[in-house]
């Protein structure tokens, strides 16, 4: 597969393939799956645990196929698929948050030590090394799991990935104001959770049980 951005090139070809699929040639959809699988898996991989990425990415393509007739062909197909992928990630967390599966498990001793050590780190080099540690990912997963699906999506897109608010709004299909407000609130929640983790205190009821 080429390294060129999947959004570019072959746009008219995409439209032609879509017309064929809508005309009954279901197999033609495979070309779109090949072309956009890396893009979709990449988006999903930033939000979903690695073991579940394939499943959610598959859901995104199936959803794309189902609603293909609603694709207006006014923008690139990649943008449209990116939105569907983001929505599937949101749905995934919404289901899991409802089941309260995310509340299982405590932080490992290693992760607790990591937070204490980080405070003592002076050099940038050591800080970089600590940031790449598996404990950092464990803490991040632990903290994100305490957020509702919406908060989690916004925090990941805006704060962790550093996506501009406008782009996040397009991806989530929300208004810019809604993303701004939610991003601010959810960051505050995340900070409070981290603070509680650092102090070893349980998370507040409000954060733990807030519905999506």
């Amino acid at each position: 597969m080429s390294n060129s951005p999947p959004y570019q090139g072959g746009e008219s070809q995409d439209f032609e393939i879509i017309s064929r699929v809508l005309g009954g040639d279901t197999n033609a959809f495979e070309v779109l799956v090949h072309r956009y699988s890396r893009l979709v898996a990449g988006i999903v991989g930033k939000h979903i645990p690695r073991g579940r990425v394939d499943e959610v990415a598959q859901d995104a393509f199936v959803e794309g196929f189902r609603s293909l007739s609603s694709f207006s062909q006014t923008g690139p197909f990649g943008h449209w698929m990116a939105k569907i992928a983001a929505r599937c990630c949101h749905d995934f967390w919404r289901k899991h948050h409802r089941k309260k599966e995310v509340l299982a498990g405590d932080l490992s001793q290693g992760a607790q030590d990591w937070m204490d050590n980080l405070m003592a780190v002076q050099s940038d080099e050591t800080f970089e090394r600590e940031s790449a540690a598996a404990e950092a990912i464990e803490i991040l997963d632990h903290a994100l799991a305490r957020l509702s699906a919406k908060d989690r999506m916004v925090v990941t897109l805006v704060h962790l990935e550093g996506l501009p608010v406008k782009e996040a709004a397009v991806l989530l299909d929300w208004s810019v104001t809604a993303v701004k407000v939610r991003a601010h609130r959810s960051r505050k929640k995340l900070r409070r959770i981290i603070l509680d983790l650092q102090d070893g205190a349980p998370e507040t009821e409000e954060v733990m049980h807030e519905k999506a």
Binding site: V33, A41, R50, D54, S131, I137, E161
Partner: protein, 109 residues
């Protein structure tokens, strides 16, 4: 409090770096085949005719709509015609000797 804020900022910074340092995820083996298998299955079920050869789902909905329309028209007709339904039933019973016997058996009349 200030120390706490500084600590949180530092941890937050490290977590952002940790998230960004994650290697990009590639689709797993046979990803395309699995997606297409699901899509073809779905597409086949959408086009598959009903077991008896009739499109029963659509037929049932059409029948439901028709029944609803008939009942509405009938109700509207009864309301505007000023017909007394109890009086009508009474005459039907009297006109049919077997139902009259049946009603007398049960002591209704």
């Amino acid at each position: 409090m200030k120390k706490h804020n500084r600590d949180i900022q530092r941890i937050e910074e490290a977590l952002i770096q940790a998230h960004r340092s994650l290697s990009p995820v590639e689709p797993g083996p046979f990803f395309h085949h699995k997606v297409m298998a699901r899509i073809l299955e779905e597409s086949a079920s959408l086009r598959m005719p009903a077991p008896n050869g009739l499109n029963t789902g659509r037929l049932v909905w059409r029948l439901a709509l028709l029944s609803y329309l008939v009942v509405t028209v009938l109700a509207a007709h009864l309301m505007t015609s000023g017909m007394d339904s109890q009086y009508q039933i009474f005459w039907f019973i009297l006109g049919d000797s077997s139902s009259l016997d049946l009603f007398q058996t049960f002591g209704i009349m």
